[in-house]
């Protein structure tokens, strides 16, 4: 892997990771070249780098082998119905047995999958051209009717789809040709291909009522599926992507206990395990035969200061709290460095619309003190609600409590049990913690949690300008204009919003050193749950 190291040194580890990820997902040298030149790089330099990247990647994937994988959740509610899938165990299975019209790449940009290409003029009417050579596991060819069925069923309340809210913006899906479907939306949304690249919108066979057979177009077929116990997937010999998948068989089990997962990995019974605690990293890597793969920015834990009640209604209090985050220290002591320092704005560094230029808010007790005095809240203790349900929030609250004490602010940390936290405490206290998983698009991340009338507007922050920008950006097809609008919104949220985001948390997956091919799809660990198609086992 010396070429890889040279590449890291030349373009930095993040860019190298991006190029490598693209190669592992099937990009060719010319694609890498295009990626580099899109960033403004000179052609000769880009040419050299692209060669280096392709050589580094040249270690050819090996076909064959069997792996056993453990995710961190399992229950009788495990399902192969894309509409009802609810956790990473389900999503991983979804990507084994099904395909979407599109697929998200390392920067969460949608790429063609079952759709050969997708076009729109106004972001309101979308035409998707389907691949012609695709068949379902039972031999039936993919037709527009399957796509219409797969999408429209989400809108039917009787399906009880978890994606109903997203599907409601789709007015109709119609077969507009032998290999073509047309989507009509209620309002313009340039991110439709992103939404269609997520697990709930996987394509199933028209008319399916029993999903336990898992008949899709995906890289693997169902050999066995026992909800709450395990699934065994075998290679789909007729998969439409040449040469894929690499593995013969994947057994997937859900094991809730972290130490049980890590122990079974170290004992050699598992090859890939989801959600390793930062504190287990040393144990995993100490063997020399195992490694930990880090996916950056899969979630953030945020301090919520409700703007509709005291003390959050006072903007100076909110700013004081934001200056009280010792972000580097929080990241180092709680996450052992496995994460990225954040800047009170919810778009992660890996997202294509992340605003690089926003000045980092530092840990500044003096400034916090100044704002606090200006807020003039008196000396009463301020309750802060935290819970193990919101990852790391108890630890964060305690660190903040100490920092606050230094400037004469008394925070009263109230620790709530994890069970029922989301229904009984989240967003129901003036100051408390929440935890938000990465969303596939900037639009979703902002719409769900910051739009004035969003049900999960955690801080009850209302800003007319933000709402206008949000709708405008959603319908904008010009990428540059769109990026500018998202930049403006990120500035608004960071400076005026009622939430503090100290860091983005990484997802850590442990794996057998022989398992190769993992890359970043920064929406969740295990390549955004889609590892099955991409990994291989070295001899």
């Amino acid at each position: 892997m010396t070429d890889r190291k040279a590449l890291d040194a030349l373009v930095g580890p993040e860019e190298s990771e991006r190029l490598f990820g693209a190669l592992q997902r099937g990009a060719k040298r010319r694609d890498v070249l295009a990626m580099l030149m899109a960033g403004g790089m000179q052609a000769t330099l880009a040419g050299g780098l692209a060669t280096l990247a392709t050589t580094a990647h040249a270690q050819a994937p090996r076909k064959g082998g069997r792996i056993t994988v453990a995710t961190n959740a399992s229950g009788v509610n495990d399902t192969l119905d894309p509409a009802k899938q609810s956790n990473q165990t389900d999503y991983c299975r979804g990507f084994m047995f099904y395909n979407g019209l599109t697929v998200l790449d390392g920067s969460l940009t949608p790429r063609p999958q079952l759709a050969e290409e997708f076009t729109t003029q106004d972001a309101k009417t979308w035409v998707f051209k389907l691949r012609k050579d695709v068949t379902f596991h039972d031999g039936k060819p993919l037709t527009p009717a399957d796509v219409v069925f797969s999408i429209m069923r989400h809108k039917d309340a009787a399906t009880a789809s978890r994606a109903k809210v997203l599907a409601d913006q789709i007015e109709s899906v119609t077969a507009s040709g032998p290999n073509e479907v047309t989507f009509r939306l209620t309002s313009a949304n340039a991110d439709l291909p992103v939404i269609l690249g997520t697990y709930h919108f996987h394509i199933v066979k028209a008319g399916t009522t029993d999903f336990n057979a898992g008949i899709g177009t995906g890289p693997y077929k169902v050999k066995e599926f026992k909800p709450g116990v395990r699934s065994i997937a075998v290679r789909n010999e007729n998969y439409w992507k040449p040469g894929r998948p690499y593995l013969d068989e994947i057994e997937l089990v859900g094991i809730t206990d972290e130490s049980a997962r890590v122990n079974a990995l170290l004992a050699g019974q598992l090859d890939l395990v989801q959600a390793v605690s930062p504190r287990s990293i040393d144990r995993v890597t100490a063997t020399g035969k195992h490694a930990v793969y880090e996916t950056k920015s899969v979630s953030y834990t945020n301090l919520i200061m409700r703007r509709d009640s005291s003390p959050g209604s006072n903007p100076d209090f909110v700013l004081a709290m934001k200056y009280l985050f010792n972000r580097e220290q929080l990241l180092k002591s709680i996450q052992l460095g496995r994460g990225v320092v954040a800047n009170d704005q919810p778009i992660a560094t890996s997202n294509r619309f992340y605003l690089k230029g926003l000045p980092q808010r530092p840990y500044d007790p003096e400034k916090a003190k100044w704002h606090l005095q200006k807020a003039n809240l008196g000396s009463a203790a301020i309750p802060v609600v935290a819970s193990p349900a919101a990852t790391n929030s108890v630890e964060m609250a305690l660190v903040m409590q100490y920092a606050a004490k230094q400037i004469g602010l008394n925070l009263d940390v109230k620790r709530m049990p994890a069970d029922g936290y989301w229904s009984t405490h989240w967003m129901k206290h003036p100051v408390g913690f929440g935890n938000v998983n990465a969303r596939p698009s900037a639009d979703l991340a902002l719409t769900l949690f910051f739009k004035s009338d969003a049900p999960w507007n955690e801080a009850a922050w209302k800003n007319e300008k933000f709402d206008q920008l949000l709708v405008a950006a959603r319908g904008e097809v010009d990428q540059a204009k769109r990026a500018q609008m998202y930049a403006d919104m990120q500035v608004l949220v960071s400076n005026e919003g009622g939430i503090g985001i100290p860091m983005f948390i990484s997802s850590l997956d442990g794996h057998n050193g022989k398992l190769k091919g993992l890359s970043q799809i920064p929406i969740s660990g295990m390549m955004g749950s889609s590892f099955a198609e991409h990994v291989w086992l070295d001899a």
Binding site: G75, V76, N77, A160, N263, T424
Partner: protein
């Protein structure tokens, strides 16, 4: 004596049915008090009022609670356990897929732990006060005081991670032969044995000592019976009642109480099924599991009582 047994049996079965009924009402009421219902659990954060209503209608949750209970009870009487509200599969099918696993684990554990416990308990009673008695009693207390998750995790660390003698997980498709099965079962059985052996052993010891100090044993000894015969033929039959009860109590734990072992070793038993049912608010599933555990407990305890009566010469000859 047979009439006595039959009368007792009939009485016990009647009482058992009443207990089952009471437990079913109780479990139904308690699951009703839990926050949220199956529809909310399934839809999670994405729930909208209309999708909730549609799902509730699908699951039959729009019917008032007492009607749902009566419907379930009617089904049970006809031998129909109902349909799981989360998976829409028959509950009987879900249980049938897990119960054999649980019974197998319980049987293997019982096969190991009961003889060990009895042997230790009787030996400790015979040599009471000796170094052996003290070591066995203290050891039993020490072992039962260590929580089972610790025993299980330590066992995994030593035998699976370090020595690599045994597999860390007990249920994977790689199990093909009897040898592999025994290796896979070794650690769960060891852990469960640690949990239940102490209580059985100490009860056995206490019951046998109780008998050994009775005047009739002195008589037996004066008549010249060997120590072995004194214990096995005279003291033990009189002590069978309490011992059988202790054994029954310990074994009843093996059916529903082994959730930690099932979790750590990824063993798909019935306890995990019930916990899933509770977290998903799947009431038909929870009810069926509760009935099963309760029935298992009653059968074990009743059997223990019968054993006590049959083995006890005084009760037998009345």
């Amino acid at each position: 004596m047979n009439a006595l047994l039959v009368k007792l049996l009939v009485q016990r079965i009647g009482l058992a049915c009443l207990s089952l009924l009471a437990v079913s009402v109780l479990v139904f009421a308690i699951t009703g008090v839990l926050p949220g219902d199956a529809a909310q659990e399934q839809l999670g954060q994405e729930a909208t009022p209309e999708s909730l209503a549609a799902l509730r209608a699908q699951m039959g949750l729009d019917v008032p609670a007492h009607q749902r209970y009566l419907g379930w009870l009617g089904g049970l009487v006809r031998g129909d356990l109902g349909v799981s509200s989360t998976t829409q599969l028959p509950v009987a099918e879900l249980i049938a897929s897990r119960l054999p696993n649980s019974l197998l684990l319980a049987a293997v554990t019982a096969l190991f732990s009961v003889p060990i416990a009895l042997a230790l308990g009787i030996s400790a009673a015979v040599w009471r006060g000796s170094w052996f008695d003290r070591a066995a009693s203290t050891g039993a207390v020490a072992v039962v005081s260590v929580p089972e998750f610790l025993v299980a995790t330590l066992a995994v660390l030593i035998f699976a991670v370090q020595l690599k003698w045994l597999p860390a997980l007990s249920y994977l498709s790689s199990i093909e032969s009897l040898g592999q099965l025994l290796r896979a079962f070794a650690m769960p059985v060891l852990t469960l044995t640690c949990v239940i052996v102490a209580q059985m052993m100490r009860m056995t010891r206490a019951a046998v000592i109780d008998q050994l100090e009775a005047p009739y044993i002195e008589m037996v000894q004066l008549k010249g019976a060997s120590p072995l015969r004194t214990v096995l033929a005279h003291a033990l039959p009189n002590a069978v009642g309490p011992i059988a009860n202790a054994v029954a109590l310990s074994l009843s734990y093996l059916l529903g109480g082994v959730i930690i072992v099932e979790t750590i070793f990824n063993y798909p038993g019935i306890a995990k099924l019930m916990v899933d049912g509770v977290t998903q608010r799947d009431i038909p599933l929870v009810q069926a599991c509760a009935m099963l555990f309760c029935a298992g407990y009653l059968i074990l305890v009743t059997t223990a009582d019968l054993c006590g009566i049959v083995a006890n010469p005084r009760l037998r000859h009345r």
